[in-house]
């Protein structure tokens, strides 16, 4: 019976890694809600949550507990199956993306090399794109199944917004891929480790990617699908209890993942300047690298929140005009310039 010889260590290692990454994204998402409220308060000259625990640090637990104990309402005229499927898809997709992000280099434990990446697939970026575009189904199904005009309007908005902004996002990434020549995120990070960060070569591409990431995460100023004051919360209008919590949580996980992605692709991922000159051994360096990536990610999350509490929401026609008439041409120009430079370098 050696046909089914399973490398048990491999499985244990991956299970531990997957749970670690999952717990990390959940905890970061949880504390993003706290951070969001704190930063919002500071920007508006307030103190923010400070009653639950020191500095309000237990606030996310209180919020989560409240959501769990709320009454669960499913509208009688809704499509029950799709109504439940909506938030489930949103949450599932949000948690799936983190699989291909390299959270660090390799750790050596008991002679085994353990890569801090759940799956180093050679189509990493393509996988992320495929999964992220599935995310909109959660919003669309949820909004449609609610059988509510506002929710329907929000899902239509979400669908067209994500389609419009995925194009320039993809085009910006193509310029990056032409430079790196690899779809694997690990390769992209390793290239940046031995050279300059990609943002130096691709400032315009990074900017386009950043703006599109805001749109993909439904964050202000592109939060049209959940516009509180015109659509009453949009796609999650009919949701209550933990199903609402799932939608909100998925948004924060998405924010965390896209921040990590931006840090990985444009800001060196787990690599930091002078990393290989420190003369530290592998494990120590890996941990430092993970911390570097984590700090970069937190900076991006802060940026997301900072923008949210500064810029007002776009009107729908402005959103579409920006997407199709500004972002896509810009991304095409960026692609063209990158192509010309790459070609000139080869000769």
């Amino acid at each position: 019976m050696t046909l089914l010889s399973i490398d048990w260590f491999f499985i244990i290692e991956k299970v531990l890694l997957i749970s670690g990454v999952l717990v990390l994204s959940l905890v970061v998402a949880m504390y993003s809600t706290w951070g969001e409220r704190k930063i919002a308060a500071w920007i508006q000259d307030r103190l923010g949550p400070n009653r639950a625990g020191p500095m309000g640090l237990l606030q996310p637990l209180a919020d989560g507990g409240k959501l769990f104990f709320k009454e669960e309402i499913i509208p009688s005229t809704s499509n029950r199956f799709l109504f439940i499927l909506g938030p489930s898809i949103a949450m599932l997709v949000a948690c799936m993306t983190s699989a291909v992000i390299p959270w660090g280099d390799t750790l050596t434990i008991a002679g085994r090399e353990i890569s801090l990446q759940v799956a180093d697939v050679n189509i990493g970026i393509l996988f992320i794109f495929g999964v992220v575009s599935m995310g909109v189904y959660g919003i669309m199904l949820g909004g449609w199944a609610s059988n509510n005009k506002y929710s329907l309007m929000a899902s239509v908005r979400a669908a067209s917004q994500i389609i419009s902004y995925e194009l320039p996002m993809g085009l910006a990434l193509i310029a990056l891929l032409m430079m790196t020549g690899s779809l694997s995120l690990k390769d992209i990070v390793e290239q940046q480790r031995h050279g300059l960060w990609n943002v130096v070569y691709q400032p315009l591409g990074f900017f386009i990617f950043l703006v599109c990431a805001f749109a993909e995460c439904n964050r202000a100023p592109f939060d049209l699908p959940e516009a509180e004051n015109e659509l009453n919360g949009g796609y999650h209008l009919e949701y209550s209890s933990m199903k609402l919590g799932f939608f909100l949580f998925a948004e924060y996980i998405n924010m965390f993942i896209s921040s990590a992605l931006m840090a990985t692709m444009y800001f060196g991922g787990y690599a930091f300047p002078g990393m290989d000159k420190l003369g530290l051994d592998g494990n120590m360096l890996t941990i430092l690298g993970f911390l570097a990536l984590f700090i970069k990610t937190l900076v991006f999350i802060f940026f997301f929140m900072w923008v949210r509490w500064t810029v007002p929401r776009f009107r729908y026609d402005q959103l579409m005009r920006l997407g199709w008439k500004v972002m896509i041409p810009l991304a095409l120009v960026n692609m063209l310039i990158t192509g010309a430079v790459v070609l000139a370098r080869q000769h």
């Binding site: 930063i39 500071w42 920007i43 307030r46 500064t310």
Partner: protein
């Protein structure tokens, strides 16, 4: 037409310049402003722990005063009720009986003295009208209540505690 103030500004209706159409400089400016606010002094007063000071002329809930020997000063003359623009004060006078000299300062006193705190506008006219220095506005404000009758303050709510009983 002559402008009332020199602060009036004509609306700028020129078409947007290229820099303005870019929209990014404006966002950057806005973000620098919001970033500065993160470090600015917060306007919040953490209420139960810290309390904001009252203005020295603050007028809060009424109190009925006593004299040095702990006798009620009010003689139910009704001048406060007459002065009250909101007609919030009602009172009933009674005659002091022999043996009550330690309770009431003069021969006449208020058997019933009620202020409707929902009608009261805290103008302080009663305080000014009182010839006996019997009514004052203190520095506390009306607490919340579930019913209207809870806002009608009687003598036991208004009278300050007897200084002799404290000893």
């Amino acid at each position: 037409m002559q402008a009332l103030t020199n602060r009036a500004k004509a609306v700028d209706r020129r078409p947007m310049t290229f820099m303005e159409k870019l929209y990014i400089p404006a966002i950057a400016k806005g973000m620098s402003i919001t970033f500065k606010h993160i470090f600015q002094r917060k306007a919040t007063v953490s209420f139960p722990e810290k309390k904001r000071d009252f203005s020295p002329v603050f007028r809060g809930l009424h109190i009925l005063n006593r004299d040095e020997e702990g006798r009620e000063r009010c003689t139910a003359c009704g001048l406060c009720a007459v002065a009250c623009p909101a007609e919030a004060i009602t009172m009933e006078a009674a005659e002091r009986k022999p043996g009550e000299e330690n309770l009431y300062r003069e021969e006449k006193y208020a058997a019933k003295y009620e202020i409707n705190m929902l009608r009261c506008i805290f103008c302080g006219f009663c305080e000014e009208a009182c010839p006996k220095d019997a009514i004052y506005l203190s520095e506390t404000f009306a607490p919340a209540n579930y019913q209207r009758k809870g806002f009608i303050y009687g003598k036991d709510d208004l009278l300050i505690p007897d200084p002799k009983e404290g000893k």
